[in-house]
Symmetry: D2
Subunit: 277 residues, 4 copies
């Protein structure tokens, strides 16, 4: 089983694989799996390798940096559980699914705490012994509320924020602090039905398929890089509440799949799109 993940993103050039594999070979590293992608449109090269053995990461990084184009962004890090905070509001299905997977050891992450603008989900978190912070937004401006949330977040060293049906829009300044570190689950097949109550929108439009989308959050609502999507069929007999109920299983599965990809360092982001290895 691999212990390190090497990720390289740089301008494309001839011989990159040769140069990378040369460094790895000369350092006698076991490569468990290489993945690569060249984005010809943007002339970008993406590379990921899973490495085994004991590694002097700084030495390898330096040697790679010498061989790669100047703009190369190289990360080489031990595979460790990510430190994660979950934001939620009132719905329990996504949060509950994550707590269950955390509890059974299936989640490649430690849940530091759950933060919510409501108090409804406290009992669920307490069942699983996960700390719960209720940060009410009542009578607060958005920036005031976010400031209070940041006060909580700042107590922790966090790798990723997971919005597990957190129903408030985050400000640009908040999002900027956590660039490519916030994962959201949106309850529609984006870019269809951006914004509020997508199930009602889907019902009204009379679609025959509904879906869910997990994506990184950027400062445009529901427009960040898409990580995972899935769909289910619906028909005229289903009210929007029926669709909402049916959609919950899709939402939690899509979010769960996205978190696996993120926590295993399998994603590059470029030009508002994800490259997933």
């Amino acid at each position: 089983m691999y212990k390190y993940v090497l990720k390289i993103k740089c301008s494309d050039a001839k011989g990159l694989i040769y140069k990378i594999s040369s460094v790895l070979y000369k350092n006698d590293l076991n490569i468990e799996k290489n993945s690569e992608f060249v984005d010809n449109e943007n002339n970008k090269f993406f590379f990921r390798a899973r490495l085994d053995g004991t590694i002097d990461t700084q030495k390898i990084k330096n040697e790679l940096q010498d061989e790669m184009p100047r703009d190369a962004k190289i990360t080489l890090a031990k595979k460790v559980k990510k430190q994660v905070i979950i934001l939620a509001t009132k719905e329990s299905h996504c949060l509950g699914d994550i707590l269950l997977k955390h509890d059974s050891g299936e989640l490649n992450a430690n849940i530091l705490c759950v933060v919510s603008n409501h108090d409804e989900l406290r009992p669920l978190c307490e069942k699983f012994g996960v700390k719960y912070h209720f940060v009410s937004s009542s009578d607060l401006q958005r920036d005031e509320h976010e400031k209070e949330i940041l006060n909580v977040l700042n107590k922790y060293k966090v790798d990723f924020l997971v919005l597990a049906k957190y129903m408030r829009i985050l400000s640009q300044s908040f999002v900027d602090r956590y660039e490519q570190k916030i994962i959201n689950i949106h309850h529609s097949f984006l870019p269809a039905f951006i914004g509020a109550n997508p199930y009602k929108q889907a019902y009204k439009r009379g679609v025959k398929i509904i879906g869910a989308t997990a994506h990184f959050v950027n400062n445009n609502l529901d427009e960040g890089p898409i990580i995972a999507q899935d769909v289910i069929g619906v028909n005229h007999e289903q009210s929007w509440k029926d669709m909402q109920k049916a959609g919950r299983n899709v939402e939690k599965t899509v979010l769960s799949n996205a978190l696996d990809l993120v926590f295993d360092d399998r994603i590059f982001v470029h030009q508002n799109k994800t490259i997933i290895f």
Copy 2:
């Protein structure tokens, strides 16, 4: 095998099924299958039955009309092949699929002719012995071009127009002539990517799933009642042309499924949505 299709659409009221089944029972009709739906939001009742035997359709309709609410719209017609004209432009996959099914007797319709604003698809149609009308749009205003198309269409007695990748937008007056009689295949998962080149849009947005949508055409572009949709997964390795290629199989299957539903009289339209039995 059923020989008649009865369709009723009216305001909802108590006892409608009793009243309908009473008329059918007293006339000693074989009902092969009933389907019904009540749209509570709009207080509308929809009913369809497949009937066997020899039927005095006018008598049955009159008796039903007496029992049903005043606004009842009742159709009772022998199951016959629909008379269909296909409009296409240059792409052959949807047209070819329809021609093949027509040829093998799987299509519940007669293809009267194919009309195109280009001449590329003529050889394909000639293979299958289907009349081809090339109506060039060069140097013509939209209304002039549509007038020439209407000159062709008016030579035929047509039940439905099928837009099998016909790449020109129809005017409101054209659409109004064929209300709920024009079926279009749009190469995206509507309402995502309305308009031109949805595959490029999908590629640019970085979605992980693409789709196709068959719908009735109304006077708002790509906003008519949806009949059928389907999707396939895509990934970062696929260019928009790869997506376009992969999408073709979905497009033709979705259109084919929609045509089966339309030609078998299985669809009601209400409030810009379809009820499908």
Copy 3:
């Protein structure tokens, strides 16, 4: 919202819908939805209606019985939460999903207790305040073990047993006691990969899609009437353990969907197949 469910299964005959709707209409009942199906091959008629209002169920049943064919099996019952016992072994994903839905009020059932042949899932059940019975099978013959389980089950008045990854095969005499009352989730796309370790079988066969199947249990292993199935794509990079992990989300969703159908009285069983309304 409907309060009663009427279900009728009988030999097919002319006028059944008329006769049923006549009884319902004359009793001034609100029918929220009718569903019907005629199995021509077996000459069987299936009918289900959701009824609203206050009903003298015995009177209605008697009147219907008078009108229907002699073999008619009629049930008319108030919509109530089903009483359910869950059997599990060591895996937590299906059980946890059911407990979560139970906890959030989404499950149309009361969980009376959980019975397991291992003790691993006790902490999970205790989190949710659900009684846990550990009935070890160590040193016991199958019939002895089942006898001990029956001792537990007999303390409760149970409508359905749910096998949420219960990994022991039940004897025919056990199954016979709970005819059409045991729902199992099998971790393959039945009838492919019946029996032990379907993920290993799927891996070895090199399939490109794996699935899960929820079914009623009869006395042939994995051969009971299928209620729900779903699938996901896999590829050569996935070990059987990867497939197992990916399959868990499908297993729990399929089981959840099947339980919704069962608990809402939407299923008929005939000739080892399900008719689902």
Copy 4:
């Protein structure tokens, strides 16, 4: 756009990527895309690269052979259209779909001819100007019939045989002549419903999903390496003939997808499984 495909299959060893990329780099080749896979269970390494430029293929192959493990099987060939013969029986949907794609230039293959044990599909082939050989099996033993088919096949230089709903079982000696060169479409989700009339089997079993499987043919019926699979949902209302009709779109799409993979040299076969890049 790439012009050559390099494929290597050998025992796994450290540094293989380094050694391959070293040869390619020193020969100044443009690598458009590398793909690799290590089958740890069988200690096998699989590699495919798409190369651009003008290449002395023999020189490159020799240099690679020197660097690779002794058991390395290396192919480096110009990307060319494959030479293909289609075998069919009476059903037109798969054959028609292939002919349409061939006609519109979407198929990366030349269709040399169609061979059938019936004469029904002749008119379809003649529409597309494709030579048709009717080789009746009437009054013939299987080996006699195959001998006559081989007489036809031997007139051509063929890369692949495509069984587009060819409904006769091929003998082991026939299959051995075309190892990994025969692609079949089976009308079920293998390994479910091996053998005759899978739709009837699926109907009888009461499955909720049906599918199709494209696979290489080996000498065990329907047990060769799987290339592609897909599924659609079905329900109790569908007769086996309805399932058969619905399945046709899946069959032809799955076969079409499989042919794209085969004709683009994207597949390795090992241990009765496919590795697809």
